[in-house]
């Protein structure tokens, strides 16, 4: 990777890092998700900053070219993120269903209370 390319990529990664941290501070991104994204972005910065790290990863993954190694890593990371967020969505859905049911039953109880007291 050319030094200019490294610099532009590093700037983009750092801007993303600032955005992630601001989103966490404003509670628009959960701490766990923020931690995941921050870890990922720091890993990206490390690859850019440490000479030979990308080549080392390329050799480790058995890829011929650095771009193949990055593609493989990206695939693994995206799969893990997708898996994690699928679990989160399912958990939220369960909570959502329980919340709706609780509201429905409470609303029914409140509506029936005057009728019960009249009897």
């Amino acid at each position: 990777m050319l030094p200019e390319q490294r610099l532009v990529t590093a700037i983009i990664v750092m801007v993303l890092l600032v955005i992630v941290l601001r989103l966490v501070r404003r509670q628009r991104l959960s701490v766990t998700s923020g931690l995941l994204w921050t870890g990922l972005l720091i890993a990206g910065l490390a690859i850019l900053a440490v000479p030979g790290l990308l080549e080392g990863i390329t050799a480790l993954t058995g890829a011929k070219f650095p771009v193949s190694a990055i593609t493989l890593l990206a695939f693994v990371v995206i799969t893990l993120f997708f898996f994690y967020f699928s679990i989160v969505v399912q958990r939220l859905e369960r909570r959502h269903v329980e919340l709706v049911r609780t509201i429905a039953l409470m609303e029914h109880r409140l509506r029936e209370r005057p009728r019960a007291s009249q009897q």
Binding site: V97, V100, A104, H108
Partner: protein
């Protein structure tokens, strides 16, 4: 939930056109049964019509689906001490005499935990060849998973005694039919089918369209395979 009274749970989703038909039938119900309608986020004014008619109705603010509507009724039944609960479809396809037959059987044979009204035992066939094929596929899944032959796996007319209601409450379920039967059987519940007659739907639309049926078959296959592999579905 140990009393002698029963609770008839009727899930309603956009069934405004069937309300009068269902209510008229319920007047002939067993006197030991109360009724609760679950308005599952209907958008056709079904909830308001039920209230205006003086029905006992629980409103889901949004649509949660058939199984969750049954669960809400079950929670209500458990909280109010009913001895058994029955599921009765809100589309007017079930006959009250069939439900009364299930109630009478429950009184005579309280050891049967889950009673299913079966249109196939009653000599009927599904509304279409495709639905019959799909129904038979589910029945095969259930037979493989439970080693018990249940003919009408997708029947909406069921009666659960105290034990079955408590068991259902404790299960993590995604489907109110095949998966439900597999886990109820595996939890040790005694299941019995009784013949019923199902009338043709006059209002509204069936929950089984072609696309939904394909997706539902895939989901059911997946869930039954999971049930076979995992064995338990306790909350």
């Amino acid at each position: 939930m140990t009393g002698d009274r029963g609770l008839i749970i009727i899930p309603m989703y956009n069934e405004a056109g069937s309300i009068e038909r269902v209510r008229a039938r319920l007047e002939q119900r067993d006197p030991a049964c109360d009724v609760v309608f679950i308005n599952d986020g209907s958008r056709d004014g079904c909830g308001k019509l039920l209230e205006a008619a003086g029905c006992n109705v629980i409103h889901h603010p949004i649509n949660l689906g058939y199984l969750e509507a049954l669960r809400s009724g079950l929670e209500y039944g458990l909280a109010n001490g009913y001895g058994f609960v029955a599921f009765f479809d809100g589309d007017g396809q079930h006959r009250i005499e069939d439900l009364n037959q299930l109630v009478q059987h429950h009184r005579a044979h309280p050891e049967d935990d889950l009673l299913i009204g079966s249109r196939y035992l009653g000599g009927q066939r599904a509304a279409s060849g495709l639905r019959h094929l799909v129904g038979q596929t589910y029945a095969l899944f259930v037979r493989l998973a439970t080693r018990q032959t249940i003919y009408d796996v997708t029947s909406g007319l069921k009666l659960l005694n105290h034990r079955a209601a408590e068991t259902m409450r404790g299960l993590v379920l995604e489907d109110g039919h095949a998966e439900f039967l597999v886990f109820m059987s595996r939890s040790g519940c005694r299941i019995r089918e009784l013949p019923i007659q199902v009338e043709a739907r006059r209002q509204g639309t069936s929950m089984y369209h072609l696309s939904k049926m394909i997706l539902y078959t895939l989901r059911t296959s997946f869930l039954v395979v999971l049930a076979l592999l995992t064995g338990s579905s306790k909350r």
